[in-house]
């Protein structure tokens, strides 16, 4: 009986605690009809642009790709996600989410050292899309590139992660920036601070009721599994509203990692967004005090750290997949079989690894030695048959390959990449771990040689 009462109380308190990302208007002197102050349609439009861009890369139409990367034109259809049997989507065009939005202008404008030629993230996105249009359905077997994966994974970092972590949750939270006692722009129904926080949340890509969902449910919503439609359709209107009921990008990856490893990245980030937004709502349209701003920055730091970990966890997982692919290739080669499929899988996983690794350096955060380590260990391309790897660009912008060692030796680099990621970003899930749990032991051993102790 006692147990029953306790479990009912726990369930009740949990449901009472769970919050949807929806807050009333607090802007003083607001005379309009809006009830909710939450608005992040522009960010969801960019998620739809990214999803759609990923779909059309394999078509090889450069003009079409640019429509979703850098154009702001009206009338663009949403190519993904679209309605399917048992999973109806409310919106069919980008304009229904927000008008005049593009991906490229929001991308990181700093240098990316992990790609030959040291381009900015904006230049690199343009370069990758152009290369994709010249490849066969986004696949370049000569240099070992899967442009669908490279463009998709890097866009998530260079646009969503960068804008949220580097811009809204950092620069825009400073005193004097987007104050809470004034509308974000003239005529807006939300305050400056409210909108800054909402835009960061929008880039994360979680459903508004994310705290009520399990990581597995979030994953299945992104996959548009009809069995989870009722979970997705939070307001029960028979359609999934992309603005508040769909999971995109890193929110999906956070939930996916949690679902596989039992970690808590998705809810950690979600809870910090909710707590931060509640703090802003509690200010009731008044300018935040320095104490409130300090607390808000604390939530922002929690989000930034966990978000970075999610990207590093994804890179860790794909480094493990690359290692496994190389083992499979060795086995097939020994048996003198056909390695085409295994090589294709290797290139795909490498593209995912590289895309996530480049994302880590696309948000203006100082990674110290880790950045150089990741760049060198992963290289500019996977190691190809014969031990060749892309090492530079020539004067015409074509890739130059050089012999760097065998494909099998490249496995050692993947072990080092996993160790580096696990230690540098304090990873918890470590999916596809090929190190046998090395980072745990390394953490236990004190750095030798700090002091010359005799016996």
């Amino acid at each position: 009986m006692k147990k029953t009462i306790v479990s009912v109380l726990v369930a009740f308190s949990a449901s009472a605690m769970a919050q949807t990302y929806d807050y009333d208007v607090t802007l003083k002197d607001y005379q309009g009809d809006a009830k909710s102050s939450v608005s992040y349609g522009g960010q969801i439009a960019r998620h739809a642009l990214h999803n759609s861009l990923k779909k059309i890369i394999s078509d090889g139409d450069h003009v079409e790709m640019l429509k979703y990367l850098s154009s702001k034109e009206a009338g663009r259809a949403i190519i993904d996600p679209v309605s399917k049997d048992g999973f109806e989507i409310k919106q069919t065009s980008i304009d229904e989410l927000s008008k005049g939005k593009d991906l490229l202008s929001s991308a990181y404008d700093g240098v990316i050292t992990g790609w030959p030629g040291n381009p900015t993230a904006q230049e690199l996105l343009q370069e990758l899309v152009e290369l994709a249009s010249n490849s066969k359905k986004g696949y370049d077997p000569v240099n070992g590139y899967d442009y669908t994966q490279l463009v998709s994974k890097f866009t998530m970092g260079a646009v969503f992660y960068n804008k949220a972590v580097n811009h809204y949750l950092e620069e825009k939270l400073e005193a004097g920036q987007s104050p809470n006692d004034a509308p974000y722009v003239e005529g807006a129904y939300y305050t400056g601070t409210e909108h800054v926080w909402d835009e960061a949340f929008g880039y994360f890509g979680a459903p508004a009721n994310g705290l009520e969902l399990t990581p597995k449910e979030v994953v299945q919503i992104t996959k548009q599994n009809p069995e989870y439609f009722t979970k997705a359709d939070a307001n029960g209107d028979g359609v999934v509203d992309l603005k508040s009921e769909m999971a995109f990008a890193h929110a999906y990856y956070a939930a996916s990692i949690d679902a596989s490893a039992g970690t808590n990245y998705f809810h950690t980030i979600m809870q910090a967004f909710i707590d931060g937004r509640q703090l802003i709502a509690n200010a009731k349209g008044e300018r935040l005090t320095s104490a409130q701003r300090g607390e808000l920055k604390g939530y922002a730091a929690t989000i930034a750290t966990a978000w970075q970990q999610v990207i590093a966890e994804a890179a860790f997982k794909y480094a493990g997949s690359v290692y496994e692919d190389l083992e499979k290739i060795a086995v097939i080669e020994d048996a003198q079989g056909n390695v085409n499929n295994a090589f294709r899988s290797y290139v795909k996983h490498w593209g995912e690894l590289k895309g996530f690794a480049l994302s880590l350096e696309a948000a203006g955060r100082d990674l110290g030695n880790a950045q150089a380590g990741l760049d060198r260990l992963i290289g500019f391309s996977p190691v190809l048959f014969g031990g060749a790897q892309v090492v530079a660009l020539d004067g015409k912008g074509d890739f130059i390959q050089a012999n760097v060692g065998s494909m099998q030796e490249y496995k050692l680099n993947m072990i080092k990449v996993q160790n580096l990621l696990a230690q540098e970003f304090d990873l918890k899930a470590k999916l596809e771990d090929q190190t046998g749990g090395m980072s745990e032991v390394l953490n236990q051993i004190n750095a030798a040689g700090q002091s010359a102790e005799n016996d």
Partner: protein, 352 residues
């Protein structure tokens, strides 16, 4: 530039001082206190009220502020700064372990699939880690005494005329570098093998975040090794574990005590190498090398080894020359053909 240097200096000094509260360091206040309590308990049982008086060397400010002890403190800080520069930054344990782990797998060693519970793997791994680490310490220490080239540096540690727990830091930076390489090599070897054979089960058995064997070693009076408190475990135990009294014998300036008791925690290595010597609560030992270095300050401790290395080199060179001369006398025809390239004169004649 200067600001950065001062900042770095400050950080290093603070980090060194933090050892006093770090439970993984032998000189932490916890272990300094636990050593005192341990010794007091044992000596009180053996000698009653007289037991306390035997602890006086551990508590005397004359010992702690002796010139030799002050040199220990200076070396502690100075070595930390020197090693921050000397220790290679890229040759990390992670790099070594990764390479060895990969190498074993490529050599065909894989998951043993013994089905052992993780707790058993942790205990076996911890014991192996301890044994290999302890033996490697013993062996490097043994080499330090047997090779005159290495002794030139190790004599710094033995030049202490009084022993305090901080004498553990009385080391030449070159020896500190060798310790770093020893620790990296031995640990990498054990860890990499276990990771391959027992993937995802390997972990060290720790207490308060410290390796269980290190914790026990330190908690049970490791600091007494470098102190004037003669505490023997009795011969039965001393055959297995090195007592403080045994290590003090190692620091003795008497000829009959030279090259005895190289071990750190275990005494079995000394028994295997024939260097085991029992200790005694009533032993009266003077510490030092009986050489000029015993009275030198920090700079002398740093420089004297290089002077000795130079003299050793000169002496060896002389021996080679004598050997060549003797060889020339035996085979004058052959040696006459050995000409110096520029002068055309015989090198041996030049030397004369």
């Amino acid at each position: 530039m200067f600001d950065h240097f001062v900042g770095w200096l400050g950080n290093e000094l603070v980090a060194a001082s933090s050892s006093l509260l770090d439970k993984s360091k032998r000189v932490s206040l916890w272990y300094l206190l636990s050593a005192l309590l341990f010794a007091w308990g044992v000596l009180a049982i053996r000698y009653g009220h007289d037991g306390w008086s035997r602890l006086q060397p551990y508590l005397s400010w004359r010992v702690w502020w002796h010139r030799s002890a002050r040199t220990d403190y200076l070396l502690w800080f100075a070595n930390r700064l020197a090693l921050a520069v000397l220790i290679p930054k890229t040759l990390t344990q992670a790099v070594w372990i990764s390479w060895l782990y990969f190498y074993w797998q490529e050599a065909g060693i894989g998951d043993a699939q013994l089905g052992w519970p993780t707790s058993i793997v942790i205990v076996v791994f911890t014991l192996c880690y301890f044994f290999v680490d302890d033996f490697s310490r013993f062996f490097v220490h043994w080499c330090m005494h047997k090779s005159p080239w290495l002794w030139a540096f190790h004599q710094v540690h033995h030049s202490a005329k009084v022993l305090t727990p901080f004498t553990v830091f009385r080391t030449h930076p070159v020896e500190g570098l060798l310790f770093f390489l020893r620790s990296m090599t031995s640990q990498s070897l054990v860890i990499s093998v276990f990771l391959v054979v027992f993937p995802n089960q390997v972990s060290l058995w720790q207490i308060y975040g410290v390796l269980v064997t290190t914790f026990l070693f330190n908690a049970l009076g490791a600091n007494l090794r470098h102190s004037g408190v003669a505490l023997s475990y009795g011969q039965r135990i001393e055959k297995w574990f090195i007592s403080p009294a045994q290590h003090q014998v190692h620091h003795s300036n008497l000829n009959q005590h030279y090259d005895r008791n190289f071990g750190v925690a275990l005494a079995i290595w000394d028994r295997m190498f024939g260097s085991w010597e029992p200790g005694h609560d009533n032993q009266m030992i003077r510490f030092g090398t009986n050489q000029a270095i015993d009275n030198m300050g920090m700079l002398g401790q740093w420089c004297q080894p290089f002077k000795d290395i130079y003299e050793l080199f000169q002496a060896r060179l002389k021996r080679v020359r004598i050997w060549l001369v003797s060889l020339q006398k035996k085979t004058p025809h052959t040696m006459a053909l050995w000409k110096a390239p520029q002068t055309g004169k015989s090198v041996l004649k030049q030397d004369k």
